[in-house]
Amino acid sequence: MGGYVPLLRADRKALARELSWSGLGMPRAGYRAVAGWDEDPVTMAVEAGRGLIASAPAALRFASTSAYFTDRLQAGIVLDALALPRSVRTADCANSRRAATGALLDALLAGAAEVVVAAEQRSTQAGSAAHLAYGDGAAAVRTGDAGGARLAGHASLSHDLVDRYASRGHPAPYAYEERFVRDVAVPQVMVPAVREACAAAGIAPDRIAHVAAAEPVGGCWKAVAGKLRIAAPNHCDRVAELAGDLGAAHPLYGLGLALDVAAVGEFVLLLGFGNGADALVFEKLGEVAGAAAMARELGGGVALASPTRFLSLVGALDLDWGMRAEFEQKAQATVLERVGREMIGFLGGRDSTGNVQFPKSAFPVNPALGAPEVLEDVRLAELEARVLSITADRLNFTPDPPFDFGLVQFDNGARVLMEMTDRPAAGFAVGDRVRMRLRVKSLNPRLGFRTWFWKAAPLDRPRLGDA
């Protein structure tokens, strides 16, 4: 499994205090994970899934309710960013908070090695409870015939309960009265689904030792647990506390936390909710690779102190950045077709002396070589590097200043001029070790298009709450 939570975490208490004059009710505990200006569901899906591709899976499924493109396969973009073969089957699953649990169940039932990635960056309106309750993040699962957990039983139930919705006409969630939702969702959707899944697994519900249940509103799982006499902790609560409700990715992230702490032989319930429910019961067979890292990822981050920076990052504050921001970066499909896969896959080339360069070229950059060569593909995305030169550019426009960039030197010889991201408190310095993270390279709001490339980031993140 794999998980990703953005570096920045808005302190709900501080933000709620800023809005206290309004009298609006909103969550006040914990943190809301906030995607950087250059993060989106594609970048977060890549972060969550990058550790699950030691070998190419048979299929890659991308699940989200907030994917940027409505007519372009996000899974295909993720596939190129992960430099997976084009023969891997790809599919996007969308339009439901249980898109990921459904995709995971399909993958498990298919019985093949598949990767399911779920990522969310949902629109919310300032003042709504969802504004602070939702969070940005991603989770991923690899399925196959061997692993640390097996699917013991499952049940799914469709029920067009409109607890909330988002639409083209209303991109932010429109939520209905919580007691109504609870009173219908618990007895008519959640309890039957869990009961049937447990029955399919051949266990009584009270055998469930750990839970990853996404709730439509607070208190639902508590009611379900009471009804079914399940005493297990719901690990999605921890995700909500430190990152927020991650939408389609929420139950998968909770599953990672649950499988991390469950003992071998224990049963873990995964419950996805959204116009129905998917209930999957797993038996833990051994260590689940990546699950422990998901817990660490959740706890790493930096408190976002500025309310206006938070509002700007989530699109709730439209700042006038001046004339310098008046430019348009248009990417051409022809160029993307020629070199796009090498760019987003961060594929450099190794010459006949062993030196690596990026991008590739007919004549190698190595001055020792005088004739054109065909360079061997070398993926730089998973390599560490060091900062050779750096500045924090305060003149160049960026939606979240300053614009850190410089030359980055890889140990294999490749040297790349790169943007930096996830700026540490003290900034970047010559000699810093960095790792690569896929981020948005260019945005074209007028044409509704964007491109992605890799940026250099600190190797480690501070623990949330550290000074």
Binding site: R338, S361, V365, S389, T391, F405, L407, R415, V430
Partner: protein, 399 residues
């Protein structure tokens, strides 16, 4: 091996528009201002110009694409006109074209003119440009100060100098240019600034503060070049001649290959070495009387002093603070204020540098006049430290 163009080309007339925020005039007016001065200086009629090279680097909107804005503005008599663009080295590139035309014998008289009309963009600094659709998929769009600021950290790492000492030397670079700009009637900025103000200015691109950065300007500058023989016919008994023009362009080695340490501009070193060889200069520290270099940023000027071989490695900060490059120093640098204060209309800058040296060599620099001025060097740098076009020209008298 070719012998170069030493003393094969004379400069008989130069002109330079007043640089600055020229709200009242467009690119055509700027060119007219420089050109009419050059014609008068040369003492020739426009009809004698047989070919022209026009340099314009950045903003097609305000000058117009192709070479045509120049012959339109100057009503040149249907001669061949070529537009050249090599980023901030464009001005020297224009001169190189005209000089090579004369040196080759293709024409007797040629014009090099550089122009830029930047103050119509509505903000300070240079406009963003695409780096090409492929590069745009990966290459960062940094500002000009952002690219050159990176020299500072790499210089500290290479030479082990204290960052605060480096910052003070950088501030002295700007302080000196502001001192010189006061004496430069056509300069954009003609105000002296004290060190505390420079050191305390807001950051633009770490560690460059506001006064570590040149601004951008409107302006034009031009040169009329011919053979030394024709120069003498025009009454220039001992004409200013071009001793060398060399230009080096990056091939990706700095930014793609893992050898360069980021603390210098390798193309400047190459261009200088070739120019010294072409001009026959063996000891630039002893032979050069004045230099005009590409001080787009204070750190750039600082490393240029080492790149040109005028300061030892790691010694430029000390030499700068010792006043070696001040107006009364051993090798005065930016006597006219440089990019920092004379201004930086990109396509005109290289020719503006030549204009100052040309005037100094002829004893026409007014209050800025250097007592001894036999050899002068211009250094014009385009791009970034890691992807540059560096041009070095050396001028002197023929005899």
């Amino acid at each position: 091996m070719a012998g170069g163009i030493k003393d094969k080309v004379a400069i008989v007339g130069m002109g330079c528009a007043r640089f600055g925020e020229r709200w009242e005039v467009g690119a055509d007016g700027l060119m007219v201002e420089a050109f009419t001065e050059a014609l008068t200086d040369a003492g020739i009629a426009r009809a004698r110009i047989e070919a022209a090279w026009v340099g314009n680097a950045l903003d097609d909107i305000n000058v117009g694409n192709s070479a045509l804005p120049a012959p339109h503005a100057l009503r040149l008599p249907n001669v061949p006109v070529t537009r050249v663009e090599n980023m901030c080295a464009t001005g020297t590139e224009a001169l190189r074209g005209a000089a090579y035309a004369v040196a080759s014998g293709a024409v007797d008289v040629a014009l090099a003119i550089g122009v830029e009309k930047l103050k119509d963009t509505g903000y300070g600094g240079l406009p963003l440009r695409t780096k090409g659709l492929h590069n745009d998929l990966w290459m960062p769009y940094g500002s000009a100060p952002g690219t050159f600021a990176q020299l500072a950290g790499a210089y500290v790492a290479r030479h082990g100098v204290d960052a605060a000492d480096l910052k003070r030397a950088m501030a002295h670079v700007s302080w000196k240019s502001h001192q010189n700009g006061v004496l430069s009637p056509k300069a954009h900025l003609r105000n002296a600034v004290d060190m505390d103000k420079i050191l305390g200015a807001p950051l633009i691109a770490d560690p460059l503060g506001l006064f570590d950065c040149c601004g951008v300007s409107d302006g034009a500058a031009c040169a009329i070049v011919t053979t030394p023989e024709i120069a003498r016919e025009l009454g220039k008994a001992d004409p200013v001649t071009i001793k060398a023009i060399q230009l080096c362009a990056s091939n990706g080695w700095e930014m793609q290959f893992g050898e360069w340490d980021g603390s210098s501009v390798p193309n400047t070193r190459l261009a200088a070495a070739r120019a010294y060889a072409e001009a026959g200069i063996r000891d630039p520290r002893a032979e050069l009387d004045l230099i005009e270099v590409h001080d787009c940023f204070s750190i750039t000027e600082l490393v240029i002093m080492e790149d040109l071989g005028l300061s030892d490695a790691g010694r430029a900060p000390a030499d700068i603070l010792d006043g070696r490059y001040d107006r009364d120093g051993a090798i005065p640098c930016q006597l006219d204020g440089g990019l920092k204060c004379f201004g930086h209309p990109v396509g005109a800058t290289g020719l503006r540098m030549v204009y100052e040296v040309y005037n100094q060599l002829q004893g026409r620099a007014g209050e800025r006049q250097r007592a001894t001025a036999d050899f002068g060097l211009t250094h014009n740098l385009g791009g970034s430290p890691y992807n540059s076009v560096a041009a070095v020209a050396i001028l002197g008298r023929q005899n």
